[in-house]
Symmetry: C2
Subunit: 338 residues, 2 copies
C-alpha cells in the first residue's frame, strides 16, 4: 500500500522522509551544496529516483525570486529571419540554463507589442527580448518601465543601449560596392516598407554608398517584403536605364527575377540582382542569388548573451552590432555592353 497520496507529485518532504533526512538536506543535495556526506547524498539520490521526484519549479522560483525563464516577443515568427533568430536565442538560452517563453506577433505595431509584453509579464520571467523592427514598436519600448531587464533586437546600426542589431547599412554598401565593381553605373533599389527600420537602413546604405562612389542614384521602388510585391515591381521597372537592382530581401528578389524572366530578360546577362538575407533556398533560385547574408542565429545568441549579463548584473563586453557578409553567386555579373 502506498505511503502517500498519489494524486499529487512527491515533494521534497517525501524524499526526505524516504531517505531518512531532513528536507533541507535534500535541498542541499539538489543544489550541490558542500558539506554533504557521500553516504547521505547517495541515499537521497536513491530516494529521488525511487519516487521519481522533481523539484517544484514554482516553489523554487518563489523562494529564489528567479524563474530562469526569459520572454521573447518575435515579430513575423513564421519567416526565415525571425524564426532563426529565435532558434539562436533559444539555443544560447539553453546553454545558460534558461528557457524561452515566446510570443509571436504578426503585426509589429505599438499596441501589439504592448499587449504581448502584458501577456508575458503575467508569467514568471527574469528578462525580456523584443524584436522591434518598426519605429512605433521601438518608441513604445523606450518609455516603458518594466520590472525586468530588457534587450531590444532593432535592425539599425545605431548603438543604443540594450540593443543588438545587424549592420544593415553596411550590408547595403557591400551590395552596392560589388555592383559598382562589376561596372554598373545606374543601380536601382527595391526597398521594404519605410516604417521598417531595416528597410530604411538598407535604402540609406544604398544611397550613401552610391554618393560616396560618385555614382548617380538609380530608381527607388518600394515593396512590402513579399515575393508578390517583388514580382509586381519587376513587371513595372524601367530597365532601359538600369543594369542592376539591389533588392531589400531575398523573397522580393525571387519575385522580381521571375517577372524579369517573364519579360524575356536574362539575369545577370541583361540585369544584375542582389538580394538581402541569404535564405537557404536563395542559392537554388534561378539563377542562384547574390545576396547579403545576415547571421540571424548569431543575432539571437547575441541578444541572449546581453540579456543574461544584465540579469546577472555583469558588464557586457563585446559588440552589439553584427556584421553581414556579401555572398556572391550567379545573379550578378558585369554590366552588359549595349
Amino acid at each position: 500500500m502506498p505511503e502517500r497520496n498519489m494524486t499529487t507529485p512527491p515533494t521534497m518532504e517525501d524524499v526526505a522522509l524516504a531517505a531518512g533526512v531532513s528536507h533541507q538536506t535534500v535541498s542541499r543535495v539538489l543544489n550541490n551544496h558542500p558539506h554533504v556526506s557521500e553516504r547521505t547524498k547517495k541515499s537521497v539520490i536513491a530516494a529521488i529516483d525511487k519516487l521519481g521526484y522533481r523539484r517544484n519549479a514554482s516553489a523554487r522560483s518563489l523562494a529564489t525570486r528567479s524563474s530562469r525563464i526569459i520572454g521573447a516577443v518575435i515579430v513575423e515568427l513564421g519567416q526565415y529571419g525571425p524564426s532563426n533568430t529565435l532558434l539562436g536565442l533559444q539555443q544560447a538560452a539553453l546553454e545558460d540554463d534558461y528557457i524561452v517563453n515566446v510570443v509571436g506577433l504578426t503585426s509589429p505595431g505599438s499596441t501589439a507589442v504592448r499587449e504581448s509584453l502584458d501577456h508575458l509579464l503575467g508569467h514568471p520571467l527574469d528578462g525580456i527580448i523584443v524584436v522591434a523592427p518598426v519605429d512605433s514598436a521601438l518608441d513604445t519600448l523606450k518609455d516603458l518601465k518594466l520590472p525586468v531587464p530588457l534587450v531590444i533586437i532593432a535592425s539599425g546600426s545605431t548603438q543604443e543601449p540594450n540593443t543588438v542589431s545587424v549592420d544593415q547599412s553596411l550590408g547595403a554598401r557591400l551590395a552596392v560596392r560589388h555592383l559598382i565593381k562589376e561596372g554598373h553605373e545606374t543601380i536601382a533599389h527595391l526597398s521594404g516598407p519605410p516604417d521598417w527600420i531595416d528597410a530604411r537602413q538598407r535604402r540609406d546604405g544604398w544611397a550613401r554608398e552610391l554618393a560616396a562612389l560618385q555614382s548617380a542614384p538609380g530608381q527607388l521602388l518600394e515593396g512590402d517584403w513579399s515575393s508578390e510585391s517583388g514580382y509586381q515591381r519587376g513587371l513595372e521597372i524601367d530597365v532601359s536605364s538600369t543594369s542592376a537592382i539591389f533588392v531589400a530581401n531575398d523573397q522580393m528578389a525571387l519575385g522580381l527575377m521571375r517577372a524579369l524572366h517573364e519579360r524575356g530578360l536574362n539575369v545577370p546577362g541583361d540585369i544584375s540582382v542582389v538580394g538581402f538575407d541569404d535564405q537557404p533556398e536563395s542559392s537554388y533560385f534561378y539563377p542562384p542569388l547574390t545576396t547579403v547574408r545576415q547571421d540571424f542565429h548569431g543575432l539571437g545568441r547575441l541578444s541572449l548573451d546581453l540579456l543574461v549579463s544584465k540579469i546577472e548584473g555583469q558588464e557586457f563586453t563585446g559588440s552589439t552590432l553584427v556584421a553581414p557578409a556579401l555572398v556572391i553567386r550567379d545573379s550578378t555579373g558585369p554590366r552588359p555592353q549595349k
Copy 2:
C-alpha cells in the same frame, strides 16, 4: 519618504494596505470574485495602479498548481513548416490565456527529445506539445511517464491518441492523381529521409495511388529535404522514361527544377514537377510550383486545442487529422508527346 522598501516589487499586502482592506480582498478583486462592493473594488484598483502592482506569477502558480505555461519541443524550428506550426500553436495558446515555452531541436533524435523534455520539466508547465517527426522520437515518447498531459505532432495518418497530424498520404495521392489526370504514365518520386515519418507517408501514398490507378511505379529517389539534395537528384535522374516527378517538399523541388533547367529541360514542357508544403515563395519559383499545401498554422492550433482540453479535463471532439490540399500552378502540365 517612501512607505516601503523599493528594492522589491509591491506585494498584494502592500496594495491591501494602500487600499485599506485585507490582502484577500485584493485577491478577490483581481480574480473577479462576486460579492465585492463597487466602492472597495474601485479603491483597490486605484491602489494597484498607483503602486504599479502585478501579481507574482510564481506565488500564484504555487498556490493554484497551475502555471498557464505550456512547453513545446519543435524540431527544425528554423524551417517554414515548424516555425509556422509554432506560430499557430502560440496564437491559439494566447487566446486561451496560455503562454508557450519553446525548445527548438536541430536534430530530431531520441536523446535530443528526451533532453529537451528534461529541460522543459525543470520549469513550471501545465502541458507539453512535442513534434516527433522520426520514429525514434515517437518511440521515446510512447513509453515516457510525464507529470503533465502530452500532445504529439506526428506526421502520420495514424489515429493514435494524443496525436495530431496532417494526412501526408492523402496529400501524396492528390499529387499523383493530378499528374495521372494530366496524362502522365511514369511518375517518379523524390522522397525525404525514410526515417522521417512524413517522408514515408508521402512515399507510400505515391506508391499506393499509382497502384490504385493501375499505373506502374516510377523511379524512387531519396533526398534529405534540402534544396542541395534536390539539385543533385535532379542532375542524376533519368528523364527518358519519366515525364513527371512528385517531390516530397518544395525546397527539394526548387533544387530539382534548377538542375533540370541546367540540363536544358523545360518545366513543365518536358517534365512536370509537384512539390509538398506550399511555402510562400513557391508560387514565385520559376515556374510557379504546383504543390500540396499543408496548413501548418492550423496544425499548431489543433495541437494546442487538444492539449488544452486534456489539461482542463474536457472531452476533445473533432478530428485530429488535417487534410492537405493540392495547389495547381505552372510546374505541371500535360504529358509531352514524344
